[in-house]
């Protein structure tokens, strides 16, 4: 049998085509990254709020969270949370008096693990962005009788977001790359699709380079999107 050509190896379907597997893997990677990013943003808002409320206990908890995530390898955290999340959920169910067997989907466990990591980085970005909004504006909003939620929604969040977007963009770029690490805990994303293709054909260099190229495409497309978002968020602001 003749060696299949590189074009054939990247074909969609067929006995030697790995193109569809890689494409689905890339889609899975984007999904994991996007969901983890959403989780991370929620955690980051909570974490930043906890650091800035002035309550000591809240600050300490949030500070431990960011310190641990920033000094423990992502890979270790992913392994730990991926295998611990279902157990923790089961314990929670037991504590609530339910005997139901909980089977956490690997996708959700991976999202939880990655989201936990992303949250620590967004916490720092949001904290800086909130501090960049002049406090006088919040005081003024309070003085004219706005409730806490109204002044957060109308004064703090819109202005804070403008400061946060460059940092959030960097975190998104990091998240897509860290999503490759969840391949270690068996999820059929881009990296694992590449591993299967490389292992099946013994064409390691070719397939890992293709995988790298896919990540590069995701990164470059994201960079273009982030640049647009930054321009949009700075519209109407005087450039210094």
């Amino acid at each position: 049998m003749a060696e299949p050509s590189y074009i054939e190896l990247l074909g969609y379907g067929g006995p030697n085509g790995w193109g569809d597997d890689l494409l689905w893997g890339a889609w899975e990677t984007v999904q994991v990254a996007a969901c983890a990013y959403a989780v991370g943003i929620v955690l980051g808002l909570i974490g930043a709020g906890a650091k800035l409320t002035g309550r000591r206990a809240a600050f300490v908890v949030s500070d431990i969270y960011t310190t641990v995530v920033r000094s423990v390898p992502e890979l270790l955290l992913i392994i730990y949370i991926f295998y611990r999340a279902p157990v923790a959920l089961q314990a929670l169910a037991r504590a609530l008096g339910s005997d139901a067997a909980i089977d956490l989907d690997p996708f959700l466990a991976a999202v939880a693990a990655l989201g936990f990591i992303v949250g620590a980085y967004t916490t720092e970005v949001f904290r800086g962005a909130i501090l960049a909004v002049p406090t006088g504006q919040m005081d003024a909003a309070k003085a004219i009788g706005m409730s806490w939620w109204l002044r957060t929604r109308r004064i703090l969040l819109p202005q804070m977001l403008r400061y946060a977007i460059p940092g959030l963009g960097n975190i998104w770029l990091g998240t897509t790359k860290e999503a490759a690490l969840v391949s270690v805990v068996s999820l059929n994303e881009l990296m694992n699709a590449g591993k299967q293709a490389a292992g099946g054909t013994k064409d390691y260099f070719f397939f890992y380079s293709i995988v790298g190229l896919c990540y590069l495409v995701i990164t470059i497309a994201s960079m273009a999107g982030i640049a647009r978002l930054e321009r949009w968020s700075n519209r109407g602001v005087r450039r210094v």
């Binding site: 310190t67 641990v68 920033r70 000094s71 423990v72 390898p73 992502e74 890979l75 270790l76 955290l77 392994i79 730990y80 295998y83 611990r84 790359k177 860290e178 490759a180 690490l181 391949s183 270690v184 990296m191 590449g194 591993k195 490389a198 013994k202 390691y204 260099f205 070719f206 890992y208 380079s209 995988v211 790298g212 990540y215 590069l216 990164t219 470059i220």
Partner: protein
């Protein structure tokens, strides 16, 4: 006290009481193994950190060069290093390049081949990756050096090499040191990725200790503690270096704090 806490913890985890002494015994025998692994992690960090940051200098200089033959390749290299996951880079090197090297008879029969194990592939991948990341940082720092100083040096008749050595680099290093500190912590964390290509560093040792004992929390939390301790030491070292380098720029009240040994002697 310690035993009581360990007992409670065990019950919380498994619902089954386990004698605390067993747990303590386990952790006591685990730590020396973890430290062996941590030693390999630190070797990886130092080797790839030093080589990578030395390589970062030509990358940064090429990146700010006016010659497109230098600038464009450097730009593409940095984009490639920063735009793809380190895991992919290490796989390309270890499985891809390693596979290709293995097919060359001359390489296979050479003495070097026998010593070329996963550790060196990992170190090479980290060094190349660091060259990309640090190159970009250094580029920013070089551009941040005030242009007037370079003009002044030129007016004195300094050569390009001398300007680089005496004016640009000392300031670029000072400017980039805080970022560089964060990058080094990131590199320490990245060394855990070497576990995926069978290097016996801290995370690999942890994985195997878990496989042999089925004590998940004990193994991974202990490893996390070792990583936190290492990051803490690195952070302090960089903080100290920053204070030393910026000694002349600190407000007078802070100067004493910048020389901890002297203030100790005075007290």
């Amino acid at each position: 006290m310690l035993e009581a806490v360990a007992d409670l913890y065990q019950q919380f985890l498994s619902g089954l009481p386990e004698p605390a002494s067993l747990l303590i015994d386990f952790v006591v025998t685990l730590f020396p193994k973890l430290l062996d692994g941590a030693f390999v992690s630190v070797q990886l960090l130092l080797l790839s950190g030093v080589v990578g940051n030395v390589l970062a200098l030509p990358v940064a200089l090429a990146r700010v060069s006016r010659n497109p033959l230098l600038r464009v390749p450097s730009y593409l290299f940095i984009l490639l290093m920063r735009g793809t996951p380190l895991l992919v880079q290490i796989y390309i090197l270890y499985y891809g390049v390693g596979h290709i090297l293995g097919q060359i008879p001359l390489v296979r029969s050479s003495l070097l081949w026998r010593h070329l194990d996963a550790f060196w592939y990992a170190a090479a991948a980290f060094a190349i990756n660091t060259a990309g990341y640090s190159g970009e940082i250094l580029r920013g720092a070089i551009l941040a050096v005030p242009h007037g100083e370079i003009d002044a040096a030129r007016a004195f008749g300094m050569s390009k090499g001398l300007i680089l050595r005496r004016v640009i680099l000392p300031q670029a290093i000072r400017i980039s040191l805080p970022t560089f500190s964060g990058e080094t912590i990131a590199l320490l964390k990245a060394t855990a990725i070497a576990s995926t290509i069978t290097v016996y560093e801290l995370l690999r040792v942890t994985n195997e200790a878990y496989a042999a004992s089925y004590r998940f929390d004990e193994c991974y939390i202990s490893a996390a503690i070792v990583y936190i301790a290492l990051s803490y030491v690195l952070t302090r070292a960089f903080y100290f270096a920053e204070r030393q380098i910026n000694k002349d720029r600190l407000p007078p009240s802070d100067r004493k704090a910048a020389r901890p040994l002297e203030s100790l002697r005075a007290a």
